[in-house]
Assembly symmetry: C2
Homo-oligomer: 354 residues x 2
């Protein structure tokens, strides 16, 4: 098989995920070419730093315009994180008709509706499989395989750090502080663990999944969000006596009036719920579809190669479909649609701890 066309891509941000993309493209080069039907080339890597020892050192640029103005580059992976520069660059790229694929959950949760609309208006695509659930196929199955189903509810474990801490507490009886220290030692938690343990990471991710399912992006600061700092070994032991496990659950549900109930909170999860068995750094996402019933997706929710792998699947998707693809998902601004959950327990899941 010969390849006549070259898909030139760029990466913005040569950190954990960005360097993972280089590795995935290199290791899976022939599989990617076969799927694309074209050759693939990483033409530019944008970073503030130099990488003199990298085999890709000659692709490094500090100038965003070298990517924006290069007409041969059609797909850009944004793995910078944060909102400031990533937001500005993504807008400029979409406005110029280039496709952007992202692992940046902060940006997608804050400005996804606007960026999707910008992509649509300029015949470009904005994909973000890598922003939720690491390497687990989630957003593409929701927007393609289940596109015609009516997803009514999402119940999920979306943060591997907190799930590791809660699993460690359950297995060893450790305190939250000791389990957090263990997670930090193993590289599963950051020095400043706030975004994970206070639930903000899970909250951004459930807002993204709810937007994919329900078509409206909730303003995530409105969403009720409780973390796991106050969970004690006694809470976990009491749950275990009732055959339940304490999990940080992120959930969203479309209500009959069109509002969207959503929250992040530690729950005592019943043994009969498939999320009960999701342990350690793993993530699990349980969807309820009117036609399909309950479906769960499970896997590693973080890590360089799994997340990079998800970003590469979006790159390949863009490469296959440049030209005449309908937008994969439609989001309105969900301001005013938020409904605060007001029941003590959730059927089929369990009760909130706090």
């Amino acid at each position: 098989m010969t390849y006549n066309n070259m898909l030139n891509i760029a990466i913005m941000g040569f950190g954990t995920v960005g360097s993972g993309i280089v590795r995935v493209v290199s290791d899976s080069y022939s599989l990617i070419k076969r799927r694309l039907g074209d050759d693939i080339n990483i033409k530019r890597i944008l970073d503030l730093r130099d990488f003199p020892d990298s085999p890709y050192s000659n692709r490094i640029t500090h100038d965003f315009n070298e990517i924006l103005n290069d007409e041969s580059i059609s797909v850009i992976a944004e793995t910078m994180g944060g909102i400031g520069a990533a937001y500005k660059f993504t807008k400029a790229l979409l406005e110029s008709g280039k496709c952007v694929v992202s692992s940046n959950k902060e940006l997608v949760a804050a400005h996804g509706a606007e960026l999707l609309e910008l992509a649509r208006a300029h015949g470009a695509r904005y994909l973000f499989e890598g922003s939720v659930g690491g390497g687990i196929p989630l957003i593409r199955p929701m927007t393609e395989s289940l596109a015609h189903d009516d997803i009514t509810e999402i119940t999920a474990i979306l943060n591997g750090t907190t799930n590791f801490i809660l699993t460690e507490m359950a297995h060893s009886g450790a305190s939250f502080a000791d389990a957090l220290a263990e997670a930090q030692k193993l590289g599963y938690a950051e020095a400043d663990p706030t975004a994970d343990v206070d639930g903000y990471d899970s909250c951004r991710k459930i807002c993204i999944l709810a937007a994919v399912a329900f078509g409206a992006l909730l303003p995530f600061p409105e969403v009720k969000c409780t973390g796991i700092r106050s969970v004690t070994p006694a809470d976990i032991a009491a749950a275990a006596e009732r055959n339940r496990a304490v999990k940080l659950i992120a959930r969203a549900k479309r209500l009959p009036d069109g509002k969207i109930e959503a929250e992040v909170a530690p729950f005592e999860v019943e043994m009969t719920n498939p999320l009960y068995a999701v342990e350690g750094v793993y993530n699990g996402v349980l969807l309820h579809g009117t036609m399909t019933g309950d479906v769960m997706f499970y896997g590693r929710g973080a890590g360089s190669l799994p997340t990079a792998s998800a970003v590469v699947s979006d790159i390949v998707d863009c490469g296959c479909k440049i030209g005449n693809q309908p937008p994969q998902t439609f989001w309105s601004d969900g301001s005013g649609l938020y409904a605060r959950p007001d029941t003590a327990s959730v059927e089929g899941l369990g009760n909130r701890l706090f």
Copy 2:
């Protein structure tokens, strides 16, 4: 939004899945139109019977040529089952350049390699998401989201009937015969349960998944296949004492020499394996990808609406991509590639019962 084009489809076989397709297309009409960007119309339904009381009675035909020769029909759902007529009709449709989507695991497992090649040669598509795992998105995530990953191993519960029987035996201590009778009473098992309880259904499905992952279709009669007829309550109790659960496991693994190890057998599954918690009529498919790590897909593996939902996702996929799509999967004839498993246990899974 207005729709200029009409996607005309036909259904062959108006049984459980075929009638489910009519219901899904009707109930999800607006979602399907939005995803397609086109309108959709079920123009013909092929069946030997008449359905005078169906609102679709005027679409029923007994003549396959009314579908084959209708140039306005571009996608056909084959939900007839079996090999004879389904094989002949599918070949004729693909040769005429029409897309065929199928829930027929017998046909895909027997002739999938030939039919995919026929589709490729005639610029058509042959999709079969509904042939494995009911409504669980499986084949599309494997061929799109994970296309660039190197899937090395598949371990799965692919038959809801046998999983229900084994779960029932574990929970109530019932014998195999009593649990089978219960499954038949509830409509989970057929009057002749051979294909399910002797493992043939699981065996066809693991051959299909292995072909998607490894690119070669094993001749399924060669694959070692043991069912659950000989499993006793004592076997299950002994496993439970070791914190294990007896499951009918279908597995396939690519070996370093390029051969494919595959089998269907009852295993004592370790508690740490995510398949341990898959109970009742549910299916679970655990994939290991070099980049992605372990990923599991879980849901109802059968039923009219879930399976029809998977078939409709293939119809929509064909409708979106008619024109210039690379083949989604490449299969060679896997004759001579089969490796019989020769170890007493499988790492991370458990040991075989027989």
